[in-house]
């Protein structure tokens, strides 16, 4: 997958300026497109076809029986009606949006903070910090989830024990998973912890591109730390921050493994997010059509929330080409 995507990127700018095209023979004109074809085809087969299938399945009744017998039963918008009429769906959607917003804000702010920090500390401390970040990033998702579960364990968790040692006696035997909100905060921390390294490195790379003399000039003009950040740092990394935010929204909106592994969307459904709902409808209950409808609605919600960025992306794409 990654290889395919990478292959496309360098080819992108290749098509020459229109004026040059007119003078070239057909074969030469077709060449860039022929070179693009395998990648486009691969993308269509691997991404386009499954996506189309999901949309089609969302208009079908596809339970275990239909799947086993290979029947195709079209039901129009029944699945959507069922999903959208469920009041729980709307509270889950709201919860998912808030949860995503929290995770993204936490990730980008922490990542930005660490990136700026890395720019200003000595090389030795920076290397230690970078190694720590890479290690945090390298921990497999479920391994990290298990560790977090241990940390927050009611009886044996190191967090409660530490808090008690620090004098907060009321945390002895405190359950971090007794309400949906508290559970989601723990999951959010886990997700932020896992996502920060990538964002921090990306933004740090952006910061490296800011010439040192700009900071010197700002220093000579007597700018304070905040002023320097606003006038020098921010303008040069703003596009990167936007991109990181956009990517984080995409990633955090569809997080499933961590949410499910911590409390299976509990207690009492209190930490159920849209991806968990999709699992419950699809895999657990074998209502694959309904699950597909949830998937399509999820995509629409994502599009609504990222429309602004998509517009910017499309516009800047036109300008650069």
């Amino acid at each position: 997958m990654t290889a395919t995507v990478d292959a496309v990127a360098p080819v992108g700018p290749v098509p020459p300026a229109p004026s040059a095209v007119r003078r070239r023979p057909f074969g030469e004109r077709a060449l860039p497109y022929l070179l693009l074809a395998p990648a486009v085809l691969a993308l269509l087969v691997m991404l386009g076809w499954p996506a189309l299938q999901v949309v089609l399945i969302s208009f079908r009744k596809l339970d275990l029986g239909e799947l086993v017998r290979g029947e195709v039963v079209w039901t129009g918008f029944d699945n959507y009606a069922e999903v959208l009429a469920d009041p729980e769906f709307w509270s889950i959607t709201l919860r998912t949006v808030l949860f995503t917003a929290g995770c993204v804000a936490g990730t980008v702010l922490a990542g930005l903070g660490i990136a700026v920090l890395m720019r200003h500390i000595g090389p030795k401390v920076r290397i230690v910090l970078q190694i720590a970040l890479v290690l945090a990033w390298a921990v497999p998702i479920l391994a990290a989830t298990t560790v977090f579960q241990w940390i927050f364990d009611q009886q044996y968790g190191i967090l409660n024990k530490t808090l008690v040692l620090l004098g907060f006696e009321s945390f002895a035997g405190h359950s971090w998973f007794s309400t949906g909100a508290s559970t989601l905060v723990v999951i959010g921390l886990l997700i932020v912890w896992q996502a920060v390294p990538f964002i921090a490195f990306t933004l740090y790379a952006g910061l490296l591109a800011v010439p040192r003399d700009l900071y010197e000039a700002a220093g000579m003009d007597g700018a304070s730390g905040t002023q320097t950040f606003r006038a020098v740092t921010w303008p040069s990394i703003a596009p990167l921050v936007t991109m990181s935010t956009f990517l984080s929204v995409l990633w955090d909106f569809k997080v499933f493994a961590q949410v499910w592994a911590i409390r299976e969307g509990g207690p009492d459904g209190g930490s159920t997010t849209l991806p968990v709902l999709q699992y419950l409808k699809g895999i657990a209950s074998s209502h694959f059509g309904v699950a597909a409808a949830v998937a399509v609605v999820m995509t629409l919600v994502l599009v609504v929330f990222t429309a602004q960025y998509l517009r910017m992306l499309l516009r800047s794409g036109r300008e650069e080409l």
Binding site: D153, Q155, Y156, G266, P267, L280
Partner: protein, 406 residues
Amino acid sequence: MALLATGCGGGTAAGSGELTVWLMNGSAPTSLTDELHKEFEDKHPGVKVKYEIQQWTGIQDKLTTALAGNQPPDVVELGNTQNPKFAKERVLTDLTADASELAGSQWLEGLKQSGAWQGKQYGVPFYAANRSVIYRKDLFDKAGIKEPTSRAEWLEAIRKLKAANASDPEFQPLYLAGQNWYSLLSFIWDEGGDIAKQEGEKFTATLETAQVKSALEFYKQLVEVSGTKAPKDADEQKPEQAGVYGQGKVGMIIGLPWEVDTAAKTDPSIKAKSAAFPIPSKNAGTNAPVFQGGSNLAIPAGSKNAALAKDYLKLMTSAKYQSQLAKSGMVPGTSKDTGELEASPFGAAMAKGSRNGRAVPASPKWGTVEEGQNPLKDMLTAYLTGAKDATKATADAAAKLNGLLG
């Protein structure tokens, strides 16, 4: 993988001499299958048994693919809670008429129910296991406690054990996770209640009854009297209760016999110090009914060798092989003879309990309850933490259960 396996079967079945058997990992011991397959092949010259051991993880999807395919295996093992789902889809062979040849009179009731759909039998009991109370015999002896035979005695034993070990603040006479819903099932059935009733194809939750509320109350009593430190919002696997038991600070757990072996990984000496008794009933001298987990055997409807497969089932359900299953620590599904099982104290307790074995509602949608968000677990947590009272907790759980099964 499933396609591959069945594909291979198709390639060589031309000689008509191959029987593909899928059993699950950890079910029948190798010594049993080796002997059985030799006997089967001797009886059917020219037929070879193609024996494939399957993993539980992902088996539902694999079975779905395989049973829907053109070349399904000839004999499959199904978890008893999965059986109704497949029976309803008509992808299994109706074995109602063959029951007598398959030791039908000896079948375990709990498993038999799970293999039946609309009065027809699609699954034959294979083996089962159920929970009993695993306890520290050495600690019981030291405190002068005998195996309790009623709920009242059980609570009394917990109190005494707690008092006898009062010097150790970390000691828990009973470790009981808040969401051990299999134990709750026992208490509900013991009260004479149930979680759902069936009318035709429809299942309706019966959680809003006095019986279920009494069962919840007893559960709470166990938690409070024992002062268990187990989380109220997690089941017995989080953390694994056998591991906690193995640390030696726990007097009793409600568990499956092999959990003692898991505990022995932490402390090898603990098995010798442990024994087990059936879950006590509120009526002195009897045992509480228990949830019977286990497996059935079935013949996929698409099997090309159904006659051979039936012969295979005949052997597997015979007393000879069932006693070998019992010896390996399982409750045999088609034999009431549990002599081999009773050789170990854990097996003996399980065998006693198994006579009163029950099943979860045989709804094809039951898998949804176990694989998704189990309302019974949420009910327990809400009630034990005081978030909801019994009336509200049972009403909410009933509504959810109806939504899942309806």
